[in-house]
Symmetry: C2
Subunit: 215 residues, 2 copies
DNA sequence: CTTTGATTTGACCAACTGGTCAAACTCACG
DNA sequence: CGTGAGTTTGACCAGTTGGTCAAATCAAAG
C-alpha cells in the first residue's frame, strides 16, 4: 500500500477548504493583536505569548493558526506595503497638478491619523534596516515612485508647478505625514494641550501650496 | 569589630578615583558598539553578547564596566538628547529670522548625515513610545521648544517671516531632516544611483525659503 | 446520537539571555 | 620583584522564549 489516508492535520488552513467561521475570527484576532504588539515593541521585542494573550488565545492555539512568529509578521507586512502605497497610486495624471499633490498629501495624512499602528510597524521595520521587506522596496516601491516622479517632472516642465526635485518632494510628503503617527509621543509631550492632528493638515497644506504654486 | 577593610571591588568606577587608561578605552569601545547594536536592533533586540563581541570583550567583562544592559542604553540616551537639541538652542534671537531658521535646518540635516546611528537610536526609542525618556521630553524638550516657538511667533508678528504655526514648523524640520537618517534604507532603495544626501540640502533649503519668505 | 475533522490545551523542550561569582591574571609602582 | 588594586574569564544559574506534541474537547453533518 503506497499511502494511508490524510495524516491528522496539525494546523489550520487545510489544502483548499474554505476557512471556517472560527478560523476567520481567530486569524483576524491574531493579526489585530499582533499589529498592536509588533508596532509597539518591534519584531524582537514582541513575544508570541503577548500576542496570544492579547488575542484571547493560548500560545499553542495561536501557533495552530500561524506556523511561527515570523509568519505573522510577514502576513502583516505583506498587506501593509500595498495599502500604504494606495494614496500615491491614486495620483491622477489627468488632474490639476497642484490639487493632485495636495490631495495626495491629505490622503497620506489621513492614513497616519487612521492607522498609526500600521505606520509604526512600518517605521520599526525601516529604521532597523528593512530586513524583511527590502526587496519589495527596491522593486514595487521604486517602480511606483519612478513613475510618479516622472509625472511630477512633466508637470514642472509644463510650468504647472514650481520647480522642485520630484523624489525629494515625495520623500518630504512621506516624512511629514508619517511623523505625526511615528513620533506621536514626542509631539504630544511638547504640545500637551491640544491634539496635534488638529492643526497639522492646515500647516502641511500651506507648506505645499507655498512650495509648489507656479510663479 | 564593625567592619573589615574595603571589600574586593567587583566593578569598575571605584569611588572617586580617576579612570584608568584601560577604563577609558573599554568604556568608549562599549558605548560605540552599543550604539551600533541598539540603533540597528532596538533595545530588546540587542543582546549583551552582541555588544560585548562587537566591542572586543567577553560578556562578563562588559558587565564589569556597566552594571546592566539598561545602564548602557541609559548612558547613550542621556548624552544624546542634549546633543540633539544643540542645533535648536543655537537659534539666535538677534539674528535675521529667515537666516536663523535656514541655519538651524542645515545644522540639523548635517547631524543626520554625521550621526545617523544616534538618530536611529532616538527614533527607535520614540516610535516604541519613549518609555525611557518620556520625562525628559515633557520637561527639557518642551521647555526649549516653547521658548523657540515664542521667538518664531514674535518674528512672524514683526512681519519678518510669513505666518506659519511655529510648533508645526519645528516638527516639520525634525521630520524632514531626521527622515534622511532614519529611513535611509528606504530612500536608497528608491534612489539607487546617487547619495540621497547630495540633493537633500538644496531641496530643503528651497522648501523653507518658499514657506517662510515674508511677503 | 455518532462520527469525523477542527480546535484547544497542558506539559514539555532546547536555545537564548541577562546577570553572578570566585578564581585567575595583569599591570603599575614602590 | 613583590604586592595590591585593577582587569578578565570560565562556569554557572534562573527566567524567558519560540516552538512541539499527544491527548482532550468541540462542532456540525449525517
Amino acid at each position: 500500500m503506497p499511502s494511508k489516508s490524510q495524516p491528522a492535520q496539525t494546523s489550520a488552513r487545510t489544502k483548499n477548504r474554505a476557512p471556517t467561521r472560527i478560523q476567520q475570527k481567530n486569524r483576524a484576532a491574531i493579526l489585530g493583536a499582533a499589529l498592536d504588539v509588533f508596532s509597539a515593541q518591534g519584531f524582537r521585542g514582541a513575544t508570541i505569548d503577548q500576542i496570544a494573550t492579547s488575542a484571547g488565545l493560548s500560545k499553542p492555539n495561536l501557533l495552530y493558526y500561524f506556523p511561527s512568529k515570523e509568519a505573522i509578521h510577514n502576513t502583516l507586512l505583506a498587506g501593509l506595503l500595498d495599502t500604504w502605497l494606495d494614496p500615491l497610486r491614486a495620483m491622477n495624471p489627468a488632474g490639476d497638478p497642484l490639487q493632485e499633490i495636495l490631495a495626495y498629501v491629505h490622503r497620506k495624512l489621513q492614513m497616519s491619523r487612521d492607522y498609526p499602528r500600521e505606520s509604526r510597524l512600518f517605521a520599526n521595520e525601516i529604521v532597523q534596516g528593512a530586513p524583511r521587506i527590502h526587496d519589495a522596496l527596491s522593486t514595487d516601491l521604486k517602480e511606483l515612485v519612478d513613475e510618479k516622479a516622472a509625472l511630477i517632472s512633466s508637470w514642472i516642465a509644463d510650468g504647472k508647478l514650481a520647480p522642485v526635485h520630484p523624489y525629494h518632494l515625495i520623500f518630504s510628503i512621506w516624512s511629514l505625514t508619517q511623523h505625526y503617527a511615528d513620533f506621536d509621543v514626542q509631539i504630544r509631550a511638547v504640545m500637551n494641550t491640544q491634539d496635534p492632528f488638529d492643526d497639522a493638515p492646515e500647516f502641511i497644506d500651506t507648506l505645499y501650496r507655498r512650495l509648489l504654486s507656479p510663479p
